[in-house]
């Protein structure tokens, strides 16, 4: 009888424990659900700092709750560029914080123009999602870049 009681207690503890983990995961997913942001991308180019206004950034959570990718749309890395490109930074590590989520990323090759684009290898990525705001900074190659935007439609 005692044996059975402890077994049920252990089972209950497991169930409660699982519930708690799932709840924590849900919290993370809720905070960093896929969201589009609009804001300013500041590029510290060799010719000086310049802003890309109204830049859309898509934050896409991956199946694993603790990773994501960020796509920057129609970005210029130099005011003289005759075109804009879309750049995706994959493999961003997401950690829950009190305000939302902390974002970080080791050295990673971004995706652009149909494949990996090593010329703009990303280093020093740090950022956060706090409420409806997304902020991050990184180096595209040797170009320091930062972004601050607000969620669209919220």
């Amino acid at each position: 009888m005692k044996k059975t009681f402890f077994l049920m207690l252990a089972l209950a503890a497991i169930i409660v424990g699982c519930d708690k983990n799932e709840k924590e995961d849900d919290d993370v997913k809720t905070i960093i659900a896929s969201t589009d942001y609009s804001g300013t991308l500041t590029v510290d180019a060799s010719s000086g700092k310049f802003d890309n206004e109204n830049i859309k950034v898509s934050y896409s959570s991956t199946e694993k709750a603790d990773s994501a990718s960020i796509t920057l749309y129609q970005v210029k890395f130099s005011p003289r560029m005759p075109l804009t490109i879309d750049v995706t930074v994959p493999g961003i590590i997401v950690k829950k914080t009190e305000k939302g989520a902390a974002l970080s990323c080791p050295r990673v090759v971004p995706l652009a123009m149909g494949g990996e684009y090593p010329n703009y290898t990303v280093t020093g990525f740090v950022g956060e999602i706090a409420g409806d705001e997304l902020t991050f900074s990184l180096n595209f190659g040797s170009t320091p870049t930062s972004y601050h935007g607000k969620a669209i439609g919220q």
């Binding site: 129609q74 075109l83 490109i85 149909g114």
Partner: protein, 738 residues
């Protein structure tokens, strides 16, 4: 080969038929009057028409070797139908009106049956009794596309007193033309076959550029039931295969020979069957016509017209149409009031398959170079591995029209007043289904090719109402002289630009490719959308005054006109790296001018003078880059001139006919800016014939001095091209009356 065999068989068949027809004893004569006094629709005779009218008899047509519409150029004052391209071209200019593409400014009627499709205009004539050209807007009775006038052909009728005739001629460029016409009971039959090796060579292929083989057949059945009922049926068919598009590049102020590498040509089968019914009642004459018209054609074109593999165009059409007209007029032709009321309608469906194929050099020059010029080299560059990129474009175009018209003529002693009004309700719809596909790669980033498909489909349509009034007054100054004045409106139908869809797809593809790459150019590939490919009707108000004289052997006419055109339809090149062209309602224009004809045919002598002067200019036209207001309208000649003289010399029982003529047109502006210009040039023609009883042997020549000149100009991909005037042509032939 099949065509030639079939034509030979048909000719043999007709010849064998003719040998069983007994001769009636008539001889060939050249004394048939040149003015025909019947009209197809008008409630009054041609002599009382308050507009400029030109008529050419069957004898004159034969004597001048006029067996195609473009051979009427200049003979009819102001009429200019340049001879270039292929049979589908049929570009008609009249009184400053006209454009290279789409709807014509002159309606073609054969025995009262309207020919709807411009691609069927140009066919060989045989067994044509007369040609009548009503100049100026004739919209009230003839409706759409009659704003420049109406070309009306009367064919050999079973009621004519005519013997079977065979005509065979041979000449320059291996040209053979054989025709025959005959009457069998209630049937009038005619057939003509023409072959030519071509007048221009494609130096790249070292082959003839514009060979032609064509067979035209016509069968008219007509029967009268008593004095009141007449029924007739006209079946016409034309089958042809030809080369064409003999365009040479203009470079460094030199016209280079024709030299292109891809296939070009045109094949056509047209069948028109028209039925006419007339009931001559005691009070009312009822006329009814109905027709079924089929056209199947296929055009291939090396659209860059160079030795390079850039791009080609195919345009394959299958169209069917039905027309119907019912009109009522007063039977008492002596009454002071001659009203005429009618309804008209047609429906046409055209299925068109028009793929443009971009070839390797075109992919490089038109697509990749353009795209890569926008991409910094340190980022990468775009490649397309396909050797050919087809841009498929399929269209289903429906056009319909319903019209109600009325014209009243009031005969008041020496005055004749005409008031007319027509209401046209016209609609059109185009379903388009276009698609292109390619394999691309962005080097060095993409490891492998990626497929991109760009579909583009949808539908556009329109419905419009046109009101076409007419007012005129005619004064019979004497038995020989009439003076008239007319205010009338005409319109040229709107439509759809199908040739621009390859441009739309080309630009859409490049934009989609960039989108797929995640690359966005500051300056997008620009093009028009399908919605912009519709164009509106062009309308014209015509004010005209003229006089005609007919006294003894002298016939003369003089007409002055002023025409104001709204929504002028112009062929333009759209913005961006365009390879196509499109019709657009670009502006306004006005034209005024003078037309004169003088014919004097005393005894065995004959002479004819036709001259016109036209000043046609834009009053408002800005294409976004330049303002062309005040400039001359391109392709419209300032002057047209035709002069002929002939004499029939009787020697015993034979006659020697000697005829000489000069015809010329110009100067032209070849473009809106007037930087390219063609001077007035004149060419000499002649004919000598020996006529004896029932046969005639002749030699005739066109452009006898072999004078060079240019008949057409255009730009493609920034290159300039001209079509040359045909060289000297000498034909010898025999006409036998059985």
């Amino acid at each position: 080969m099949f065509l030639q065999t079939f034509a030979s068989a048909m000719t043999t068949f007709l010849l064998s038929l003719l040998t069983f027809v007994s001769p009636s004893g008539d001889t060939l004569t050249h004394h048939i009057p040149d003015i025909i006094i019947t009209a197809a629709k008008e409630p009054v005779s041609v002599g009382h028409l308050p507009s400029a009218v030109s008529s050419i008899s069957q004898v004159s047509l034969q004597r001048e070797g006029k067996y195609r519409p473009n051979t009427l150029s200049q003979i009819i004052p102001g009429l200019h139908i340049p001879d270039y391209g292929a049979s589908l071209t049929s570009t008609i200019y009249m009184r400053g009106l006209g454009s290279r593409m789409e709807n014509p400014v002159m309606g073609l009627y054969i025995d009262g049956i309207p020919v709807l499709d411009k691609n069927a205009y140009d066919s060989d004539w045989e067994g044509i009794n007369s040609v009548k050209v009503l100049r100026g807007p004739q919209g009230t009775l003839y409706g759409r596309n009659a704003m420049g006038g109406v070309l009306s052909l009367s064919t050999l009728s079973p009621t004519d007193d005519s013997d079977p005739v065979i005509n065979v001629e041979y000449g320059t460029a291996g040209t053979v033309r054989a025709g025959a016409s005959m009457i069998l009971g209630n049937n009038a039959l005619s057939a003509t076959y023409r072959h030519t090796d071509g007048y221009f060579r494609n130096t790249f292929k070292n082959s003839s550029c514009d060979p032609y083989d064509g067979l035209s057949l016509r069968w008219r059945w007509e029967r009268h039931y008593g004095e009141r009922i007449m029924m007739s049926n006209l079946l016409m068919s034309c089958i042809s295969r030809e080369g064409g598009f003999a365009y040479g590049q203009w470079k460094n102020d030199t016209l280079r020979p024709v030299s292109y590498n891809d296939e070009a040509g045109y094949s056509r089968l047209s069948v028109i069957d028209g039925y006419r019914f007339r009931y001559h009642g005691y009070a009312v004459i009822t006329d009814a016509t109905a027709s079924v018209q089929l056209l199947a054609d296929d055009m291939l074109m090396d659209q860059d017209y160079t030795e390079h593999s850039i791009f080609t165009l195919q345009q394959r059409q299958l169209s069917g149409a039905g027309t119907m007209e019912l009109s009522l007029r007063r039977a008492d032709t002596d009454a002071a009031w001659q009203p005429m009321t009618g309804i008209f309608s047609f429906y046409k469906r055209n299925s068109m398959h028009a793929p443009v194929v971009f070839k390797r050099e075109g992919i490089e020059s038109l697509m990749l170079n353009n795209a890569n010029s926008h991409i910094p080299t340190d980022i990468g560059y775009l490649t397309i591995s396909d050797n050919e990129i087809p841009v498929y474009s399929d269209f289903m175009i429906d056009t319909w029209n319903a019209a109600l018209f009325h014209e009243s003529v009031f005969d008041m002693e020496r005055w004749l007043f005409t008031a007319g009004l027509r209401m046209d309700f016209e609609g059109g719809n185009m379903d388009y289904d276009c698609m292109t596909r390619l394999l691309y790669r962005f080097v060095p980033i993409m490891a492998a090719d990626r497929e991109l498909s760009v579909p583009y489909n949808g539908s556009v349509g329109h419905k419009r109402i046109e009101v076409i009034p007419k007012l005129s007054a005619l004064f019979r100054a004497s038995d020989a002289v009439i003076i008239y004045s007319t205010l009338s409106k005409g319109y040229r139908a709107g439509g759809f630009n199908t040739q621009i869809f390859s441009d739309i797809l080309q630009n859409m593809t490049m934009n989609a490719l960039m989108e797929d790459l995640g690359v966005h150019l500051d300056r997008q590939f620009v093009s028009v959308s399908a919605g912009n490919t519709e164009y509106d009707p062009e309308t014209a108000w015509n004010m005209e005054a003229g006089t005609r004289l007919h006294k003894g052997s002298v016939r003369a006419s003089l007409a002055t006109y002023c025409i104001n055109v709204h929504n002028q339809q112009l062929t333009v090149f759209p913005p961006g790296m365009s390879t196509g062209r499109m019709m657009t309602n670009a502006g306004r224009s006005r034209s005024y001018g003078v037309e004169a004809e003088l014919g004097w045919n005393p005894g065995r002598f004959r002479s004819q003078l036709s001259w016109s002067w036209c000043d046609a200019r834009f009053t408002r036209f800005n294409d976004g880059n330049s303002d062309y207001s005040g400039n001359r309208i391109p392709y419209v000649p300032e002057h047209t001139l035709y002069m002929s003289m002939g004499y029939s010399l009787a020697i015993n029982d034979k006659t020697i006919d000697i005829d000489a003529s000069l015809n010329g047109a110009g100067p032209f502006n070849w473009d809106e800016s007037g930087t390219r210009r063609e001077p007035f040039s004149i060419r000499a023609n002649g004919r000598m014939a020996l006529v004896s009883g029932r046969w005639e042997f002749y030699v005739r020549g066109e452009n006898l001095t072999d004078k060079s000149g240019r008949s057409f100009y255009f730009k493609s991909m920034g290159n300039e091209f001209f079509a040359s005037v045909k060289p000297r042509i000498i034909m010898t032939g025999i006409t036998i009356k059985l």
